[in-house]
């Protein structure tokens, strides 16, 4: 049984303008100790998917359906008390902006101790020892003394390390990292990602990495979920996705990836804007921006189905596989050729 199994998850927000379908029928699963990357543009529903699993959406105007089975237990129907037990203990989360995600008026030690004591009936001294141990593990120098410092005394990268330490302090089975490196500079990004990978080996947690950075996915993920406009466009093990991408949106993402080994004049961009989730386009939601659009795309929403010769590789596109293979090969060849 998978650690986390999400089936047909839908999250709708009712707003003054109408219903925003932020997540519209998303399914995936995460195995123990594995990493799932969720990629997509801003507003594609990546973060909302994870906040829904954690039960962190504002309850008042949120409509949720489907199921999210964590060790067989449906989190979407769990009571708030049970959810609190799970949050921070079995499933932990780190957020995009480490500058604002820590409480400025409590020392980081206090915040880690709080995380421990919310789930473990231990003394402050024991909790603090655990907190310092984790701060050391994430590479905070002189962790014992720095635990008494406040968030504003740490740099962005260090704060994200603190967030990671806080997330891992209760040894969770699943770590959800919501754009963990987006707010950091490039060298720090690499450090944080390798830290997450190393800690995953050490702690054996499964990880969901939400990102719009395909580089992060290539580096860290075992499986990839490409989301577009609240739906899954393509889903595959990471190697397969990069070697044989099927969905035109994935091609767009790959084409827009800056690479050091090629000498492109400028990056290829996907034309247009992501659609409004208040009134998504008919048929395939990518059709207004898709260079391969056919009449059928405008009417029928393509279902997410496995490709004919690989049951692990799912895609939602009306194009025939022969064309897709040809176009993907062309794209890969082009980048290779530029790589020289």
């Amino acid at each position: 049984m998978a650690l986390l199994e999400v089936n047909d998850l839908k999250t709708y927000f009712s707003t003054d303008d109408g219903i925003v379908k932020a997540v519209d029928g998303v399914s995936f699963s995460v195995e123990k100790g594995k990493t799932l990357g969720i990629v997509g543009e801003s507003g594609s529903g990546k973060s909302v998917t994870c906040l829904t699993i954690m039960g962190l959406n504002d309850r008042k105007n949120t409509i949720t359906s489907g199921e999210a089975l964590f060790n067989g237990e449906n989190l979407l129907t769990a009571g708030s008390r049970r959810l609190r037990e799970i949050r921070g203990n079995d499933i932990a989360m780190i957020f995009q902006d480490p500058m604002t995600s820590l409480n400025p008026v409590h020392s980081i030690g206090t915040q880690l101790v709080e995380a421990v004591q919310l789930h473990r009936d231990v003394s402050k001294r024991v909790a603090r020892a655990r907190a310092v141990e984790l701060l050391k593990a994430v590479g905070i120098p002189r962790a014992d003394r720095r635990a008494d410092d406040y968030p504003h005394q740490f740099s962005g990268g260090m704060r994200q390390r603190v967030m990671i330490a806080m997330a891992l302090v209760n040894d969770p089975d699943l770590l959800i990292a919501d754009e963990p490196t987006t707010a950091l500079d490039v060298t720090t990004q690499a450090q944080i990602m390798s830290l997450i990978k190393r800690l995953q080996d050490e702690f054996g947690s499964a990880i969901i990495v939400i990102t719009h950075d395909l580089g992060v996915v290539a580096e860290a993920a075992d499986d990839v979920l490409v989301m577009y406009a609240a739906e899954v466009a393509e889903q595959a093990p990471v190697v397969k996705l990069f070697n044989r991408p099927f969905h035109p949106y994935t091609w767009g993402l790959l084409g827009s990836l800056p690479r050091l080994d090629t000498d492109l004049e400028r990056l290829v961009q996907i034309p247009g804007q992501p659609p409004s989730l208040l009134r998504p386009p008919s048929g395939c939601r990518f059709h207004p921006r898709c260079p391969y659009v056919m009449d059928k795309c405008k009417q029928v929403d393509p279902p997410l189905e496995p490709i004919s010769d690989d049951p692990d590789h799912f895609q939602a596109c009306h194009l025939d596989e022969a064309t897709q293979d040809r176009e993907a090969a062309k794209l890969l060849e082009a980048t290779m050729a530029q790589a020289g």
Binding site: L56, R84, E85, M93, D97, S101, N103, P104, H152
Partner: protein, 336 residues
């Protein structure tokens, strides 16, 4: 911390000199017939000149100001036994022109009244503003929120004098629940009433009158602060850690949302002392406000100066306490 304190105290001294100097100069710019008042109606030209000379009013302004300041800050040795241990400022505020009583005595008897009014008033206004602000923020746009924000609007719009008169009429005169004038000493039974119970009983209407405007302003500010803090990323982090809602509110939302309230308290204490003038007038409380109003009417400079000096001193001390308190509760201030 020590350097911070020293810097603050130096600034306080500058502030003190500026405030007293401005008050002094303004007083001499305003025309008055002080000589007639001091020497008496129908007194001779000669008697008036003598009176003016006696008060030192024929000297240049800077000399008078210098003498006033010297009497105030002249170092006086404090002896234990007969050994001088340290010095304290003399603290003499001079004598009333009209009544010839020491200003220090007048201040000493009026200050506790104003102190009681302001101290109790601040507590009442916080007791009103905190629950209204927090509950409104937790249920924005609810019936409770809309009702309390309507009252807030009324509280901000209505002048304290009008509110005071309405209260005195309804609760004092019509219903007869509370006394509508006079002050009872907290400690001794002087002039018929005294003791904590009578003290509080006589101050209930003044406290509420005094508190309403500030309570309204603070309720609105607290509501906005709490609502803003609720959307902060660190609040989401706290929930993601599995913290119960009550704990999230107490330890993460309120700790941050109420920081600015402490700052505002420090800034508003000066305005608050000004507001006490209205309340004291309505309820006939013999506090600094009444003293000041009467002294201004009689152009009695030493009393005006005394009240200004005392108020300035109180505000400076209070601000210093608030700043130190703030540095203590907000770690970001503490170290920068």
């Amino acid at each position: 911390m020590i350097r911070y304190l020293i810097r603050r105290i130096l600034w306080a001294i500058v502030l003190f000199v500026v405030v007293t100097l401005v008050t002094y100069v303004i007083f001499f710019l305003v025309p008055n017939d002080l000589a007639a008042k001091v020497a008496g109606q129908g007194s001779s030209q000669e008697a008036r000149a003598r009176a003016i000379h006696h008060l030192g009013l024929d000297r240049p302004v800077y000399v008078q100001y210098g003498k006033f300041m010297w009497a105030l800050i002249k170092p006086v040795p404090v002896r234990i036994g007969s050994v001088p241990v340290f010095v304290r400022p003399n603290g003499n505020l001079g004598y009333s022109y009209i009544r010839a009583t020491p200003v220090n005595d007048l201040i000493k008897s009026a200050a506790p009244v104003t102190g009681s009014l302001v101290f109790g008033g601040v507590i009442v206004w916080l007791l009103m503003a905190l629950p209204i602000g927090i509950l409104s923020a937790l249920r924005p746009r609810s019936l409770l929120d809309r009702t309390s924000m309507t009252f807030v609007l009324i509280g901000i719009s209505a002048h304290p004098i009008w509110i005071g008169l309405i209260f005195a009429y309804v609760f004092g005169f019509r219903l007869g629940w509370f006394p509508i004038s006079n002050y009872c000493n907290f400690f001794n039974h002087a002039g018929g009433c005294g003791g904590p119970a009578q003290w509080a009983y006589h101050l209930i209407l003044p406290w509420i009158t005094y508190a309403i405007l500030f309570a309204a302003l603070y309720a609105r500010m607290i509501r906005a602060n709490v609502m803003e803090a609720m959307t902060e990323d660190y609040v989401r982090t706290a929930r993601a850690k599995g913290a119960p809602e009550q704990r999230v509110l107490r330890s993460h939302v309120l700790r941050n949302a109420l920081l600015p309230v402490v700052t505002m308290l420090g800034m508003d204490i000066g305005v608050g002392l000004g507001g006490a003038v209205f309340t004291e007038t309505i309820y006939n409380l013999p506090g600094l406000g009444k003293l000041l109003l009467r002294a201004i009417g009689e152009t009695d400079l030493p009393i005006v100066m005394g009240v200004v000096v005392f108020a300035t001193f109180a505000i400076i001390v209070f601000n210093l306490i608030i700043d130190l308190l703030y540095a203590w509760i907000d770690p970001r201030i503490r170290l920068s």
